[in-house]
């Protein structure tokens, strides 16, 4: 028996993996790696870099332990019905030595909530934050503290939930093919050389070292970034955001509006406030912005911008097959690079807005 998400309907992949030796070599220099799947995203340089640097096991976590992160990965990917990410997490656990029987027992315990109280609190928090309906409240953070998690662990846990969801969206929306990952753990070569592969997987998982910002963060979500002062997460997130705003593929105005739509859809007023300054700098007065955001349209929007806003709104809560169908419609009107950037923007916006709501002040 394989992944319980096998029944989730999944469309044909909307992207072609395009090899680009130069870009891959540059990525290796900048980030230390260029895995095969990154070829789907190479047309959007900031997303390629962010997707590698924001890898949860890539030197970002200082306080939270990896077994908890693995459970959060399973729960969040299951909540988001992401076959691709769920299959990868499941495969990693199998390679690390978890038998299929133990894997299934774990999945049953996750479904029924029969876990050790501390772990159960983390799972509940991951579910609440992912569903965001309603948004996480300070009481949810208190429950984690009461269960025995430190403030540093809570911040990292919120980051993990938000950015596993980031990977869920960049995988689900373009329907990256999950099939090979779903079968991989049972392939003969993995079974034969499992100890070797287990060493490899353990080798990929690197704990982070305390780090500080090269320069104080500015602009939208600067307050959120400052909550990660001292953690390697802060500088990586700041760099992803700077790169996103600087990218010329989609207009800065369209990207800011997509962020604002997602913040509004989630009911996160503070996320809307974060982005208001960018909209004003892009020539949209608060009244103009309100008119656009209230109805996802208006005379000041072009047809592509209107389509991008409707798409952004659809990525807040979705069924995979529905969002993949809407993504296909968007793909038909945009270039490959524009489409990839749009996927990156909605993924980052959904994650940051949820994180902003979960960490309203220094915990």
């Amino acid at each position: 028996m394989a992944s319980p998400l096998l029944d989730v309907s999944w469309d044909q992949c909307l992207l072609e993996p395009v090899p680009d030796r130069q870009a891959e070599a540059a990525l290796r220099r900048e980030t230390g790696s260029a895995p095969g799947w990154i070829r789907y995203f190479l047309s959007c340089p900031w997303l390629s870099r962010a997707a590698i640097r924001l890898g949860i096991d890539n030197k970002l976590l200082v306080a939270l332990d990896f077994p908890t992160v693995d459970l959060i990965g399973l729960v969040v990917s299951q909540e988001n019905s992401c076959r691709y990410c769920y299959a990868i997490t499941r495969m990693a656990l199998r390679v690390l030595g978890m038998s299929e029987e133990r894997m299934q027992q774990l999945e049953q315990r996750l479904a029924s909530g029969e876990m050790e109280p501390k772990v159960a609190a983390a799972i509940r928090f991951a579910r609440r934050m992912t569903r965001a309906s309603p948004l996480v409240t300070p009481q949810d953070l208190e429950s984690l503290r009461a269960a025995g998690y430190s403030d540093a662990e809570i911040r990292e846990m919120a980051f993990c939930v938000a950015f596993i969801a980031f990977f869920n969206r960049i995988s689900t929306i373009p329907a990256l093919p999950p099939h090979s990952w779903e079968q991989l753990a049972d392939r003969w070569f993995i079974r034969l050389f499992r100890p070797l592969y287990a060493r490899m997987v353990r080798g990929w998982r690197k704990r982070g070292q305390p780090a500080s910002f090269a320069r104080p963060p500015e602009g939208p979500f600067a307050g959120l970034l400052l909550q990660f002062e001292g953690s390697p997460i802060g500088p990586v997130l700041a760099s992803a955001l700077d790169d996103l705003w600087a990218s010329p593929i989609l207009s800065r105005r369209a990207k800011a509006l997509m962020f604002a739509v997602i913040g509004r859809g989630l009911g996160c007023q503070s996320s809307g406030d974060e982005i208001a300054g960018v909209l004003e700098a892009e020539g949209l007065s608060p009244a103009d912005a309100e008119q656009i955001l209230a109805h996802l349209g208006g005379p000041r929007l072009g047809a592509d911008e209107t389509a991008l806003l409707a798409f952004a709104r659809d990525t807040i809560w979705y069924e995979p097959i529905q969002i993949q169908r809407r993504a296909r419609e968007l793909r038909e009107r945009l270039s490959a690079a524009q489409f990839v950037e749009a996927v990156g923007v909605v993924a980052l916006a959904n994650s940051l807005c949820r994180l902003r709501a979960a960490l309203p002040r220094r915990t």
Partner: protein, 271 residues
């Protein structure tokens, strides 16, 4: 020597027996886990037919009591016009086919515009927008869904006529307001729904579609939140049972209705 050999054989046989027994137990355990996982999945799939998927997931993870919240949502009631006459003209199997086609058309239009079908009430359907997840665009969604139903009905009627069946007509009432959304019912039987005066008024507005001879009517509270690019026609205020003031409603132009309504005018900013 022969004793040692015999002892060795006994130990080997015992070890082999123990191993075989453990393997047998493992197979039984594996079969049980697989059976219960399949059972759990089947149960979740069955529940998904009775309530929205998100509700089923919350029901499994957090329990039924967790699903009850006060929300501002948009309720839509649709009803078949002249169902009684239709049921007298068609045999039960044909009638069921016509009804199922209408239910499917409404359901598809609603899901396409992020609504949830709450309950089938005879030939009527209760639909809500913004009850499960926050939805600041719920009024626009509801009106888009109503227009999609209107357009879909044109195609469905053409299909019915081709097969010699009578055309059908529907009335749609839309109202926005507060209510309780959750798993409501007795200890033995509950369903995910919304309750409160918002539903009552949506149902009454749906009934007004006959009086005003319009297929879609919406209330002032919907109009206030609506994209001004929708073209609305105000209807005369009408007293409604249970409501103190006469109720002002609007019909919306679009699709077939727009063609027969003649000159259009917008009601931006008016009440």
């Amino acid at each position: 020597m022969s004793f040692a050999y015999a002892l060795f054989l006994v130990v080997v046989a015992a070890a082999a027996g123990l191993f075989a027994w453990q393997q047998h137990r493992l197979r039984i355990l594996r079969a049980r886990i697989e059976a219960s996982t399949v059972e759990l999945q089947r149960l979740q799939q069955s529940c998904a037919l009775l309530a929205p998927a998100g509700v089923v997931e919350r029901l499994f993870s957090d329990g039924p009591e967790s699903i009850a919240e006060h929300k501002v949502f948009t309720a839509m009631f649709t009803d078949l016009v002249g169902y009684t006459a239709l049921s007298g003209r068609l045999d039960p199997k044909t009638l069921a086919g016509v009804l199922n086609g209408y239910f499917q058309l409404v359901s598809d239009s609603v899901v396409e515009h992020r609504g949830r079908v709450g309950t089938f009430l005879g030939d009527g359907i209760l639909i809500f927008f913004g009850a499960l997840e926050p939805n600041p665009w719920q009024c626009n969604d509801a009106v888009h869904a109503a227009l999609a139903i209107r357009d879909g009905l044109v195609r469905y009627n053409a299909e019915l006529e081709r097969t010699g069946l009578p055309r059908i007509a529907i009335g749609v009432g839309i109202h926005r307001g507060p209510g309780l959304a959750g798993l409501i019912g007795s200890r033995d039987r509950r369903e995910y729904t919304v309750v409160g005066p918002t539903l009552n008024l949506a149902a009454r507005v749906q009934a007004l579609t006959r009086e005003h001879d319009r297929d879609i009517l919406l209330t002032e509270s919907v109009r206030e939140q609506l994209d001004p690019r929708f073209e609305l026609i105000p209807m005369p205020a009408v007293p409604v049972k249970g409501i103190g003031e006469p109720v002002v409603t609007y019909t919306v132009l679009g699709g077939r209705e727009a063609k027969k309504a003649g000159p259009r005018f917008e009601v931006r900013g008016t009440s």
